[in-house]
Every structure is written in structure tokens, then in C-alpha cells.
């Protein structure tokens, strides 16, 4: 049976692009680091559009061929070699990453400019190289097909993300970074332990081979159960799902705005992506049903807990960070909806794909909306000199475009039409009802109300016309406002696109579960 899976699939056009997506940020990172000074920024800004082009090309190749792209590094097929792999989900996430990073790059130019007169400054060099490193880590996670390679990719991502938190160097941000690092290290070592157990039980770490061996080896070895549980626990610590979320709010709120946008929109999604891979691509279905309930219960707790805590925050950035906690919770509701026993017989019919598309849409629209929100908060904090929610009265009169962008992003987070968040939550709600799991709809609706509540706390005073006019400490550049607005519009426009055009995210999905069938 094994020989069947080690066959190299026919070379598809676009497969070498996977290597480009991996190499481009790494090459740019080295170039930026060696050239240093003002060149680092130029290298990043020149590389980002190329990376966007590569991501678009990969998505086009996956969509055009309607199949997963494979690339065996060095021509060695697994189990001997390591392969890269891009299905619809990977392609979607590569594209999202590239779009968000392009926006972040344009936005961050003003914050991380080398001061005139100086040849090089520490914070800009660190920021631009770390941005490339985060990008490389994310692409490696999205393309990886080997559990150990994914471990290395996750670690690269962590090592790039942690210093982003403490770029300012204040004691609070260093403590936040250290806390983040400790959680992340615990997570990665648990993940590695899971990897060791998988290798010990099945002799491979390649996702496709492992899933085939798990499907054929009935009953499942207890080691595989322990491995999956350990890996999930480790990845949950990195995704900051309740109750392992303690590190996230101070870390995401303490980073500079551009860094927060990257961390909240993209970095936490990488480990979530691996949990998806683990339970839908590696583990056999019956086990996924069980795990799905646990994951979704934690997700539901995160939605409520994150929402309530966001209502109580005094600082705008802390509020947005707690909102990330709640929105991560929504992602975990995908598990029981996709893996529901009610949906399983009709896997290639309507139900399961709806929940899957909804989950991916939630991931993508949250990435755009949250990046826009953090960057808007950065503009507000820069213009007012503080980011106390209490002091935002009348903000809409002085920074209309920023507040508008913030509100648009909020629209998507709340799940109000027309927005990507609405389409996502609508799909998840209908999947919950179709599979007879109505209790998840209650959580989603309550979460929507809480989101409305904490955004109202910000927007109601910001849009009020009473009170003395605000004075700005520093003017806001129009171009940066436009970047934020563009990103917020992306998250809204996702909801206007007809749902049938999201076929991309389904590619490779049914094939992955059907691989063990005769």
C-alpha cells in the first residue's frame, strides 16, 4: 500500500513557485540584513509586491488545476525526502499573508524610518528584517508537509514574532515578550514530543504517509492519541486559545502598531492552521469528532471570555487584543461543524464544505479586519498621544477616515452584513443548524453581541459631536490612513463576493480524506 503513496504526482505547473514563496523572504532577509541601514526598508518594499505576485500565481495555479500542488525538495519523494504542498487553504493563506504584509509594509514606513543624519538605527533594521523573517516562517508553515519541518517553521516564526513584541524596549514589553516566548516554547516542545511519538509509532512524519498509515492501522495506537493530544495542547498554547491565552493581550498590545497587526492577523493563525492540518489531514475521522467537541468548547469559552474582558479594557489596543482572543474562539467552532457525524456521510454535498468555507472566511476576514484595526489604533495613538478608550470623544471629527476604517473593520468582526465576517458567521451558523448543533449558534450570537458592545464603547464617543474638540499631538499622514482603509475594505468586500467563488479553499480537502480509500 505504501508504494502507492510514495509515487511522485505528475509535475504540475506552478509547483516550483512553492520554492520561490519559501526562498524569496529568506533571500530578502539576508540581503536586508547585510545591506542594513536605509536599504533594509527598500529591500522589504521591493520584495513585498514580488511575494504578492508569487502568492497570486500559486493561488491561480491551484485554482486552475483544481488540485493540490506538490514539490519534492531535491526530487526526493517522502518518506526519504521532504515535500512542499499547497492546497486551496494554503494558497488562500499565502495570499492573505502577502496582502496583509504589503499593507503593513506601507504603513510601517513612517514609524520605522531611519532618522535623517543617522546611517542606521536599531529599531528600523530589527523591524524590517523581522518582518521578512515572520513572512518566511508563515510561508514555511503554510507549505510544510512534514511534521518536523513544520516544527522548525513554527520556531522560526516564534523567534521572529517575539522580538517584534519588545521593539520598544520598555520593561512591560520585555516582560510581555518573555511571557510569550515561554508559552511558545512550552507549546513547541509539546509539539515536538508529539512528533517523537508519531515517529516512534508509525515511522514517518510526512502528513500524507502518516494519515494513510493511521487509516490503515486499526485500531489506532495509544501513542498516536497521546501524540495528537500533546501536539494540540502545544499548538493551542501558541494560538492563545482560552485558557492558554494569558500571554496574548500584553504581547499584542505592547508591540508597535505594525507589529501588533502582523501578530494578531497572521502569526496566531499559523498554529491554528497546523491544528486544522493535524485533525483533518492526519487523524482519522472518528477521533476528530471527539476532539472537535473539546476544541469547540474551549473556543466557545474564548468567545465569551474574550468578549467580556474586551468590554472592560481601558486602553484601545488592549481592547483589540482581547477581541483577538474572542475571534480566535470562532475559528475553533469550525471543528465540530466540519467534522460532525451528521455532515460526514454528506461530505461531498453541501454541509461540510459550508462550514469549512465559513471557517476559512472567518480566518481571512479576521486577518484583514484585525490588521486594519490595530493599524487604525496606532494612528489614533500617534495622533492623540494616548490610546485610552475614555479619551476618544469627538475623534470622528478630527480623524474621520481612520474612524471610518476602524468602524468598517468592526463591521466585519461583529458579523454584520455586508462584510466578510458576516458571510463567515452566516456559513458557520447555517452549518450549525444543518448539523443539528444549535447550541453553537447561541455562542456565536452572544459573541456577536459582545463584539458589538465593545466596539460601541469605542465608536459611540468617537462619533459623538458633543464635547470640546480634540487637539492632535501630531498630524496623521493621509497615505497611512488610506492603507488602513484599504485593508478594512478588503475585509468588507470579502462579503460581497459571491460564495461560489470561494471554491479555492475546498481544493485538496476531499482528496485528503479520500486518500486511504481503495
Amino acid at each position: 500500500m505504501d508504494s502507492l503513496f510514495t509515487l511522485t504526482p505528475p509535475a504540475a505547473w506552478g509547483a516550483p513557485l512553492l520554492v520561490t514563496a519559501l526562498m524569496l523572504p529568506v533571500a530578502a532577509l539576508m540581503l536586508a540584513f547585510v545591506l542594513g541601514g536605509r536599504h533594509a526598508e527598500r529591500v522589504v518594499l521591493a520584495t513585498l509586491p514580488i511575494g504578492l505576485g508569487v502568492a497570486v500565481a500559486i493561488a491561480a495555479a491551484v485554482l486552475h488545476q483544481g488540485a493540490t500542488l506538490h514539490y519534492d525538495l531535491g526530487g526526493w519523494a517522502p518518506p526519504l525526502g521532504v515535500s512542499l504542498h499547497a492546497d486551496g487553504l494554503s494558497a488562500t493563506l499565502l495570499l492573505t499573508t502577502a496582502v496583509v504584509l504589503c499593507a503593513v509594509g506601507l504603513y510601517a514606513r513612517a514609524d520605522f524610518r531611519v532618522p535623517s543624519g543617522a546611517r542606521e538605527a536599531r529599531a528600523p533594521l530589527a523591524f524590517w528584517t523581522l518582518l521578512l523573517a515572520v513572512w518566511a516562517g508563515l510561508n514555511a508553515v503554510f507549505l510544510g508537509q512534514d511534521l518536523f519541518n513544520l516544527y522548525v517553521a513554527l520556531e522560526l516564526l516564534t523567534f521572529a514574532a517575539v522580538p517584534l513584541v519588545c521593539l520598544r524596549g520598555s520593561p512591560q514589553t520585555i516582560a510581555a515578550a518573555l511571557r510569550y516566548l515561554l508559552f511558545a516554547l512550552l507549546g513547541s516542545v509539546l509539539y515536538l514530543l508529539g512528533g517523537a511519538l508519531f515517529y516512534g509509532a508509525y515511522g514517518t512524519l510526512d502528513i500524507a504517509l502518516l494519515s494513510a498509515r493511521l487509516a490503515s492501522g486499526d485500531p489506532i495506537a495509544p501513542a498516536a492519541l497521546a501524540a495528537a493530544a500533546l501536539m494540540t495542547a502545544g499548538l493551542l498554547a501558541k494560538t492563545a486559545l482560552f485558557p492558554l491565552h494569558l500571554w496574548l493581550p500584553p504581547a499584542h498590545a505592547g508591540a508597535p502598531a505594525a507589529g501588533s497587526a502582523v501578530l494578531s492577523a497572521l502569526v496566531v493563525k499559523a498554529s491554528f492552521f497546523l491544528i486544522l492540518r493535524l485533525w483533518f489531514d492526519v487523524m482519522p475521522d472518528p477521533l476528530t469528532h471527539l476532539a472537535a467537541q473539546v476544541l469547540a468548547t474551549l473556543g466557545a469559552a474564548a468567545i465569551l471570555f474574550g468578549g467580556i474582558l474586551a468590554l472592560r479594557q481601558a486602553r484601545l489596543k488592549m481592547l483589540i487584543a482581547y477581541s483577538t482572543l474572542a475571534q480566535i474562539g470562532y475559528l475553533f467552532l469550525v471543528f465540530p461543524l466540519v467534522a460532525s457525524p451528521a455532515a460526514a456521510p454528506a461530505l461531498d454535498l453541501v454541509q461540510a464544505p459550508g462550514a469549512w468555507t465559513g471557517g476559512v472566511l472567518q480566518l481571512v476576514s479576521h486577518a484583514f479586519a484585525k490588521a486594519a484595526m490595530f493599524m487604525a489604533a496606532g494612528l489614533i495613538a500617534g495622533a492623540l498621544g494616548h490610546d485610552q478608550v475614555r479619551g476618544l470623544g469627538g475623534l470622528g471629527r478630527v480623524l474621520p477616515m481612520t474612524v471610518f476604517a476602524f468602524a468598517l473593520a468592526g463591521l466585519s468582526l461583529m458579523g454584520l452584513p455586508p462584510s466578510g465576517g458576516f458571510a463567515a458567521k452566516w456559513l458557520l451558523l447555517s452549518a450549525a443548524i444543518e448539523t443539528g448543533q444549535w447550541w453553537w449558534t447561541l455562542v456565536m450570537l452572544a459573541g456577536g453581541l459582545l463584539t458589538g458592545g465593545y466596539l460601541f464603547r469605542v465608536l459611540a464617543p468617537a462619533l459623538s459631536t458633543r464635547g470640546p474638540p480634540l487637539t492632535l499631538v501630531k498630524p496623521v499622514e493621509r497615505s497611512r490612513e488610506l492603507v488602513v482603509l484599504g485593508l478594512a475594505l478588503c475585509s468588507v468586500v470579502l462579503g460581497l463576493v459571491p460564495l461560489s467563488s470561494f471554491g479555492l479553499v475546498q481544493i485538496g480537502r476531499l482528496g485528503a480524506t479520500g486518500i486511504g480509500l481503495p
Binding site: E155, F159, I174, L178, L181, L182, A196
Partner: protein, 102 residues
């Protein structure tokens, strides 16, 4: 008891000790050391797995050994980053635990 079982149990014990330390110890330096203990336990397990593969007759399984070397480098880098952050924290605030801040 075969040496594989013995080393396997040692690895498990190290993992348990490390996990306990990482969660319970308040000082960050102790947490970092506990992380290293935990990591060593995991790597020892990888070694046991390589040896077990050898017992099954496929020579000494080289894959886990390669993984160990990579994971060692990663764990070393992680430790360096953590210690650097801790040093900076101590310089700035004079305390070496994360408990006091909310």
C-alpha cells in the same frame, strides 16, 4: 529491563520534571532551565526511537538522530533568546519573575 526501556523511562521522567518546573517555578531562569530539561527528555525519547528502529533490524535509524541535531540547535537558539530577554528585564527592573505584573 532493556536499555531501550530504561532510557525511555529516563526520557519520560525528564519530560515530567521539566513540565513541572516550567509550570511551577516562579523565576524565569528556572523556567528556562526547566524548558531545557523538558527538551532533553524529548530528545532522549527521539534517541530511544532511533535505537528501537535499530532493534527492529533496519540498522541504526538515522532520521531521529538528524532530528535531534536540528532540535538541539533550535532549543539552543530559544534558550539564548530567552536569556537575552531575561537579562534585559533584570537590567531594566531588577526583578527576575513575571508574576508581579498583571
Amino acid at each position: 529491563m532493556s536499555s531501550v526501556t530504561l532510557f525511555g523511562l529516563c526520557g519520560a521522567a525528564l519530560v515530567g520534571l521539566g513540565l513541572f518546573g516550567l509550570i511551577v517555578q516562579p523565576g524565569v531562569l528556572r523556567k528556562i532551565l526547566a524548558f531545557n530539561l523538558l527538551g532533553s527528555g524529548v530528545l532522549l525519547l527521539f534517541g530511544v526511537i532511533a535505537r528501537r528502529g535499530a532493534a527492529a533490524g533496519i540498522g541504526s535509524d538515522p532520521v531521529p538522530q538528524a532530528l535531534i541535531i536540528t532540535a538541539l540547535v533550535v532549543a539552543f537558539a530559544a534558550t539564548v533568546l530567552a536569556v537575552a530577554l531575561l537579562r534585559r528585564l533584570v537590567q531594566e527592573t531588577g526583578r527576575d519573575s513575571l508574576d508581579t505584573d498583571g
